[in-house]
């Protein structure tokens, strides 16, 4: 089966949050608190067990706007630009959450997406600190972990995920990952030609620390500005070396016990 994914082109995101709402509605995701965060046009904050699409809204001081080309994500105020980006589970090629899950509740679907089987998850919580993006989280009222399923149910019915369907600007594009990567590379070229020098892809490289994202992004600033890690690595990449260290430590313990017991009084 073809690997399906998201290409989120933040250069055309208008911050409308239709994706957040569509995701909540389709997936029946519960309320995540009625909080006033006091920063920018964002009272959602971030991805969580109860937020599977999150629109980041960043206000930046920049150089005088006259020098900027008629560009993406920029309002009329002098010296201020807005960046908006809809974040989501990355559906990593090498997914730490899936690797460390002890029950097999997290699994890879026929679409190459990463999904939690809610009838298996026992709420051990290991996936939560394993995720390099802070995506998956435990719903305390329920005891299990939840995250974006890339609308597994809709995919099975040949429908696009709810967020992509609802996006009014095609900032969220859904399709076969190969096609999306090609389209994204072209889009970066177009933007650069138009003078948007900082436009770049995040998570499109299969050689990166998680083997590339199934849901990747076109960003207009460094990933960390959007709250994304600049160089994420799947923790299990270092697991053989960790087991080796543990074996050494276990041997040290055996040695210590043997030394303590064998020495004559």
């Amino acid at each position: 089966m073809t690997r399906m994914g998201f290409f989120t082109d933040t250069s055309v995101c208008i911050g409308c949050k239709a994706c957040e709402v569509a995701c909540k509605e389709w997936n029946n995701v519960p309320d995540d608190g009625y909080d006033f965060l006091g920063w920018s046009y964002d009272n959602t904050g971030g991805l969580s067990s109860d937020t599977w699409r999150h629109v980041a809204f960043i206000e930046q001081r920049v150089a005088a706007p006259a020098a900027e080309p008629q560009g993406p994500a920029q309002n009329g105020d002098a010296g201020v630009r807005w960046l908006m980006s809809s974040d989501v589970c990355k559906h990593c090629t090498h997914a730490a959450c899936l690797d460390v899950c002890p029950t097999g509740a997290l699994f890879r679907t026929e679409f190459d997406t990463v999904v939690v089987q809610q009838d298996v998850c026992n709420g051990c919580g290991y996936c939560v600190p394993a995720c390099p993006f802070g995506v998956i989280d435990k719903r305390e009222s329920d005891g299990r972990v939840w995250k974006c399923t890339l609308c597994y149910d809709r995919l099975k019915a040949d429908l696009p995920p709810a967020c992509a369907k609802a996006c009014p600007t095609q900032s969220i594009q859904f399709g076969p990952l190969d096609e999306l990567r090609e389209r994204a590379a072209n889009r970066v070229g177009v933007l650069r030609e138009a003078g948007v020098a900082d436009a770049h892809l995040y998570g499109a490289d299969p050689e990166d620390g998680v083997g590339g994202f199934g849901a990747f992004f076109l960003l207009l600033d460094k990933p960390e500005v959007y709250g994304l890690p600049p160089d994420p690595v799947v923790t299990t990449r270092d697991l053989p070396q960790m087991w080796k260290a543990a074996a050494g430590a276990a041997l040290a313990m055996v040695g210590a016990v043997a030394t303590a017991c064998l020495r004559r009084r």
Partner: protein
């Protein structure tokens, strides 16, 4: 409207953490202690039995069973769905230290229980001996896999310590087992426990210091705040317990009890220090972003150059 964000992104998105904090409750830190105590006690029991220290072997064996008996409930009660604890044995996954640990504990438990039960009742000595060998051999795995469990995460203060944490946990487990054993055993038969207290306690203190320096900036949580205070208290307890165990515990049982309690407390505090440090590290966006930014910039520079 004020402009709150900066362009360099060092503090990420409005200072929000990049990572999620662990959702484990303090039960898990307590389990790191009780599991370590159970594992190291079984190994000490086996060593003591083979070297003819039978009273020491018995107290270590019973301590191991007690540690195990507390460990199980601690692990189950931390689950979001405790009734589904058996799902831990639904699959066997080498990529999941928690899965590996579940299987190791499953093999360890009957050995540990058989050894202790046979020791107390005098029944089935061969089964008890076989159980003691099984538990004694698996003990080091029980005591150290928990270190891999925490290092196999994205949290900088844990992941970055993957070379030192297993040694810290091994030393801490050995020190606690030695401490409890010397408190429960007549001094004449507790020689191995006193020597193990010195070796284990020394390893615990040395590994913690090594870990702190190896982590560099990512080791900040181990120096400051709640985790830092726990770490300093742990070192004080472990060091004084080990010294007292070597110098005084041979002569007076009461001193052995004090030394043993200090060693056990030091081990418990060490586990809570590591546990707390992980939460603090996860909550700090710059701990995640800083090293990754440096890595990304270096990679870019090497591509360009």
């Amino acid at each position: 409207m004020s402009v709150a964000n900066t362009t360099n992104g060092q503090d990420g998105y409005y200072g929000r953490p990049v990572l999620k904090k662990p959702v484990w409750k303090p039960y898990i830190a307590a389990y790191f202690f009780t599991g370590g105590l159970a594992g190291a006690s079984s190994t000490l029991a086996l060593g003591a039995r083979l070297s003819g220290h039978h009273r020491l072997a018995r107290s270590a064996s019973l301590t191991s069973l007690a540690g195990l008996a507390v460990s199980g409930p601690l692990l189950v009660v931390d689950l979001g769905k405790p009734a589904r604890f058996a799902n831990m044995l639904r699959v066997a996954k080498p990529t999941s230290p928690m899965s590996v640990g579940s299987w190791v504990l499953t093999a360890f438990a009957p050995g540990c229980a058989a050894a202790a039960a046979s020791d107390v009742t005098g029944l089935l000595p061969r089964v008890g001996a076989a159980g003691g060998v099984l538990a004694g051999v698996l003990g080091p795995a029980v005591a150290t896999y928990t270190a891999v469990l925490v290092t196999d995460t994205a949290i900088p203060a844990w992941h970055g310590a993957s070379r030192q944490l297993p040694f810290l946990f091994a030393g801490s487990a050995a020190a606690s087992a030695a401490g409890v054993a010397m408190a429960l055993t007549p001094p004449a038969d507790a020689g191995p426990a006193r020597r193990l207290a010195a070796l284990g306690g020394g390893l615990e203190v040395a590994a913690f210091r090594k870990m702190e320096s190896a982590l560099g900036d990512a080791g900040q949580p181990y120096r400051t705040g709640a985790a830092g205070r726990l770490a300093r208290a742990a070192e004080a307890c472990t060091a004084s317990g080990a010294v007292l165990g070597v110098l005084g515990a041979r002569r007076r049982r009461s001193l052995a009890v004090v030394a043993g309690s200090l060693l056990a407390a030091g081990s418990l505090l060490t586990r809570f220090a590591v546990y707390r440090a992980g939460f603090e590290s996860a909550a700090d966006p710059s701990a995640t972003i800083g090293p990754q930014r440096a890595r990304a910039d270096a990679a870019k520079a090497s591509r360009a150059g």
